[in-house]
Structure formats: C-alpha cells, structure tokens
C-alpha cells in the first residue's frame, strides 16, 4: 500500500484537540487500545507523529516495535465528527521538548473540547501526557467514521475537503 497525503483541511482537525484513540495488536492478534496525547502532522501530510503518555503506552509501544500496524481515531466531542487513520509505524522514541510542549497544548485543547460538552475541566486536566513517547506513522488509509450508516467508508478527497 502506498502512502496517502492527508487533505489539507484535515490537518487542522487532527491537531485540534479532538479525542484521540490508538489501536494496535500483538503477535497473537490480541488488540490493545490507548488514549493518545496529541498529534503533529508532518509537512508532507503523509506522515504524522502520535504523542502518547509513556506510563500507559507500554503495550502499545511493544506492539508497534514488533511491527503492528496502527489505527488512530480522531473524534470531535461536540458533533462526533470522526476520522480514522490507518498506517504503519516507522519508529517509537521519547519526545523532544517541542513534542512535550505539543502534548501539553493538546491536553489544554482537549480539556476545552470536553468542557464544551459539559465535562469538568478539573477532571479532564488530571490526564497525564508526560513523559511522552512519539510514534512516527506513515499514513496508508483514511476512513470516515462519524457514527451512522456511512461509518467505515473510505474518506474520499471531496468529503475530506468539505
């Protein structure tokens, strides 16, 4: 499968503080889920960096290092707009200072996104984002995942650009 470039409009959405969920699996195909702590889309728009809390990511990191593909779902709480990105992981490494800052920024945005739908800021702010590890992802597929009959459809360019 060849790399896919993310539509430009989607970049803002992916970096907007949407809820981020990560799926991987081990060698016996047993899945693991994880709540991620932010995302940075690289300038070429066909790779992105997924930021994760190292304390909870041990299984995910082990899966990725053993060659698991990765699924990342981004969902905006206010209207449930949801997109799933699938790809492969090039490597996992500790975050640098810019990436640590990005994770802190993500937590602030995520807190506000949930505050809008009635979740307490004090509660959401308890979520830890550091120390942060980074998974470098090559994007291979993009899916529309907003709940409903269209969920699971491949995201076409015109949808993504809407």
């Amino acid at each position: 499968m060849s790399a896919v470039a993310l539509p430009e409009e989607l970049v803002d959405f992916l970096e907007s503080g949407a809820s981020m969920l990560v799926g991987t699996r081990d060698g016996a195909l047993r899945p693991e889920c994880l709540r991620a702590a932010g995302c940075i889309v690289d300038p070429d728009r066909s790779s992105l960096r997924v930021l994760m809390n190292a304390a909870t990511a041990a299984r995910t990191v082990a899966n990725l290092e053993a060659g698991s593909p990765i699924a990342v779902t981004f969902s905006r709480p206010v209207d449930h707009r949801t997109v799933q990105v699938k790809g492969t992981c090039r490597r996992v490494r500790p975050a640098d200072s810019n990436e640590h800052e990005a994770a802190e920024r993500y937590l602030a945005l995520f807190t506000e996104a949930l505050y809008v739908v009635g979740m307490s800021r004090a509660m959401v702010r308890r979520m830890r984002v550091a120390p942060t590890v980074v998974a470098e992802i090559q994007v291979l597929e993009l899916f529309h995942q907003t709940p409903g009959p269209g969920a699971g459809r491949r995201l076409e360019e015109r949808d993504a650009a809407r």
Partner: protein, 465 residues
C-alpha cells in the same frame, strides 16, 4: 481486579469508552463506544447498531480490548474481552433496545437508528491503567447530589411515600403528594407524572414538581421521545449525560440525512421539562396490563441517578401505579353511591358583585380548544368539559356538577370503558389555576364539584381561530 470492583458510574455512558479490535489480516481498528453494559461479573455487552468494522473483526478474531473511564475521577480501566455471542431478544436485548429507541425517537431517528444485536463479550481481565491520571485533587463532590445509597434512607423514603400515597383522597392530592415526597425523601427535585389521553395515543403532563413553568397539559405522543418510548415499551429508562446521548443520535442523523433513509426522518421532539437535563429517569406506571401513566424525574447534573435510584424508583412506581388506580376507583365508587341518592341541586345565580375584569372565553370548535382572552387555555376533552360547564353557568346560573353527567355526555366524548375523567379534571383544574384563577373547580365530594366564578364571563364560540 474484577468487573465488580469498577465503580457503577463507569457503565453509565457518561464518558465514551474506547474499543480496539483486530481483523484476521492483522489490521487493528479502534473506535469509541457510547456505553458498555455490565451483564454479570464475567460479561459485558456492547450495542451493535450497524454492521461495522468492529463486528466484522470480532467475528473473524474474537479478541477485543476496551478502556473505560470513571466520569468523576477520570481513572481509566483496561478490559480484555473475548467476543462470545449476539442476542436478538431477551431481557438484555430489550434493556439495550429501549434505550436506543428512546434516543432515536428523541432525535427523530425512530426506525433508522436501532439496535441490531446485543453483543456479549466474556471479560478475560480487568486492570486499572496506572499512570493515566495524576494524583491532583479531585473535583469536589457535588453538594447537591442526591442522597447516597443508604439502607436507612431507602426504607425511610419508601415508608414516607407509602404513608402519604395511602392517605391521599383524590387523584390531585395523590399526585402532588408523590412528587413532593420524592423530593423531600430523596432529593428528586424535578419530577412529573403523565397520564394517557382518551385514545391512549398521547400522554399529558398531569402533575409536575420543581419547574418554573409547570408544563401541566404538555403532551407527548406514545412511542415518541424518551417518555413516549417508556410508555410504549413499559420499561424504565435511565440516562446519565442525556445531552451526550442526544448529540450522538444527532451525529447519526446528520449522516443519515445524506443517505436514502432521509424520508423517514421526523422533526425532533423537544424534551419536556428541564431544557438542559443531564440525567433522566422515567418509569412506566402499570397495573396488571394497563398503562396508568409515566413517572419521570430529571436533573441538571450528570450522574444524578444510579442503579440504587433506579431500584428505588421502581418500587415507588409500583406503589404509585396501584395508588392511582385505587384512588380513582374510590372516587368513582363515591360518585356512584352519590348517584343513587342524589343531592338536591339549587342553581345559584351568577354573582356580579365579585367584580373583576370581565373574562372572555373563546371556544374554537374545529380545534376543540378554549382561549382566555388571547391566551391558550386547554383543548380536547378537558376543553369540552370546561365549555359545557361555563355554558351552563352563563345560561342557567348552575354551579354544581357531577362527574357522572360528564361521563355520559356524548358531546364530551369520554370512552365508555375505563375513561380518564379524573386525570382530565386534575389537568383542567391546574390549567385554570395557572391561566384563569377566577374560575375554579372545587370538589365537593361524592363525585361532585362546584364551579366557582369570580368574574363576569363572556363566551364566544367560533369554528376556527
């Protein structure tokens, strides 16, 4: 850790859970779940509304992992699951279906957004995600939260409600008493009782408690919305984070509007009661096979109600249903006894000395509704009852009436069997209190009441508005 060690509130659907599955070819999939149902200590159930990637994956490879959140502390729990089977009927399926139907109906998605199956998973392991949250101070507990589950409160509350319902002599008294007692004993600050109309097609609010606008007389079609679904299914419904659930339904609706199912959509029904309710519980009031009504309570707080409140309200609902049935029966027996030995009715001439501004009552025949001046007062059966009373009053000066004559009056059109005259009179009385306090219906016992009019009346009758 066992499933039973997790706080109940993790399963209330307040904060969406995360679910990961994996296809046979090794491709993972991750999604969020609006609710995880705890079936027993070894099983959970997930709702399947659309045949999606998750379902396809677990049929190929049964392993799944979910992360659940405590919606107060934000602690996270990881569960390893193994898909077991799907159910298309039975108590689990019905519980999940009613909830989904109610949300679907409330968002105008009835029949489009529905439960295909209840998917049951075996829980292989449960662990807390250490390090997901820091140990910063927790949000302070909400001081206005409902009474916590305590056996003493439970017993005291039930006793109190039982005593008060037993001593009520009329339906009106009973309904007010029950809603007050639910607040006093258990802190259900906002509640209402709805009862079916003559055709059992709609419910109308016959009593409410804790609202700025009493909303008495508001109607809900049976089968529509949260309350209407509870009435149709005769099953209780509890929701925490109502807004979140409805937003989820709306997201699906927005998707459906772009597809062929569009024609099936109907306008969204607004929630009766609090416009910003977050927690919600509604119980059918049933005696034998008859739907007596619906008891609904709501709160602006998320997580206001838990399983304990559900169990408690179920007991109360049973008591209330029977009490309503009994009090109506007693009122009728008294009325029947009175009919055998009728009192002499002395028509009283209308008094013009109780001067106030003259009230103009307008009756629109086509819509069967009554206005006071330009304000809508009441429609349908209670509207026709009022019109009969005020017409006789202005024509003959008569002020004493009996339930029996209303029952047999073909113009009013009450059903011959099991009519709902008592609840209609309660509604009429309350609407008058609210919109036209110069006219009162005062029960005088034995199925009779007196029409008290404190102002000159002018009646106008027209075909339509």
């Amino acid at each position: 850790m066992r499933l039973a060690d997790l706080p109940h509130r993790c399963f209330q659907g307040v904060f969406p859970a995360v679910l990961a599955t994996c296809a046979a070819d090794g491709t993972p999939n991750v999604t969020y779940l609006s609710q995880v149902f705890r079936v027993d200590d070894r099983h959970v159930a997930l709702s399947c509304q659309f045949f999606n990637k998750t379902k396809q994956n677990v049929l190929e490879n049964p392993y799944a992992a979910i992360e659940l959140y405590d919606p107060i502390s934000f602690a996270a729990y990881r569960l390893e699951l193994r898909y077991d089977h799907e159910e298309h009927s039975g108590p689990l399926f019905e519980t999940m279906r009613v909830r989904i139907d109610a949300i679907a109906s409330q968002t105008g998605m009835a029949g489009v957004f529905k439960l295909r199956s209840a998917d049951v998973y075996e829980v292989v392991s449960v662990e807390e995600r250490i390090g997901f949250v820091d140990d910063s101070e927790l949000p302070p507990p909400d001081p206005k939260r409902l009474t916590e589950a305590q056996p003493h409160n439970e017993i005291r509350g039930i006793t109190m409600i039982s005593q008060r319902t037993c001593s009520a002599r009329t339906l009106d008294e009973l309904l007010g008493t029950v809603l007050d007692a639910l607040d006093d004993a258990l802190g259900f600050e906002h509640g209402m009782v709805l009862m079916p109309d003559e055709l059992a097609a709609k419910l109308f609010v016959v009593a409410s408690h804790g609202y700025d606008e009493a909303g008495v007389g508001a109607e809900v079609a049976i089968g529509h919305g949260l309350i209407g679904t509870v009435a149709r299914e005769r099953r209780m419904l509890r929701m925490s984070g109502v807004e979140n659930e409805l937003r989820y339904g709306r997201a699906i609706r927005a998707g459906v509007q772009r597809t062929r199912a569009r024609r099936e959509l109907v306008p969204e029904i607004p929630l009766a009661g609090l416009p910003d309710a977050e927690s919600y519980m509604a119980m059918p009031l049933v005696v034998g096979d008859r739907l007596i009504g619906v008891l609904a309570v709501e709160s602006r707080k998320r997580l206001a109600f838990d399983e304990w409140h559900e169990a408690f309200l179920e007991i109360v609902a049973n008591q209330v249903a029977i009490a309503i049935d009994n009090v109506v029966m007693r009122e009728r027996e008294a009325a029947a006894a009175a009919d055998e030995a009728p009192e002499r009715i002395e028509p009283v001439a209308p008094s013009s000395t109780l001067a106030a501004d003259t009230k103009v009552l307008r009756y629109f025949r086509n819509d069967e509704c009554v206005f006071v001046g330009d304000d809508y007062l009441i429609r349908n059966v209670p509207g026709k009852i009022l019109w009969k009373l005020v017409r006789e009053y202005t024509q003959t000066g008569r002020t004493t009436f009996s339930n029996r004559e209303l029952r047999v009056d073909p113009q009013i059109g009450l059903p011959q069997l099991r009519d709902n005259l008592e609840s209609r009179l309660v509604l009429l009385r309350k609407r008058l209190e609210e919109k036209c306090p110069d006219i009162q219906l005062i029960p005088t016992g034995r199925g009779r009441f007196r029409l008290a009019v404190a102002c000159p009346l002018v009646l106008e009758e027209r075909d339509g508005a």
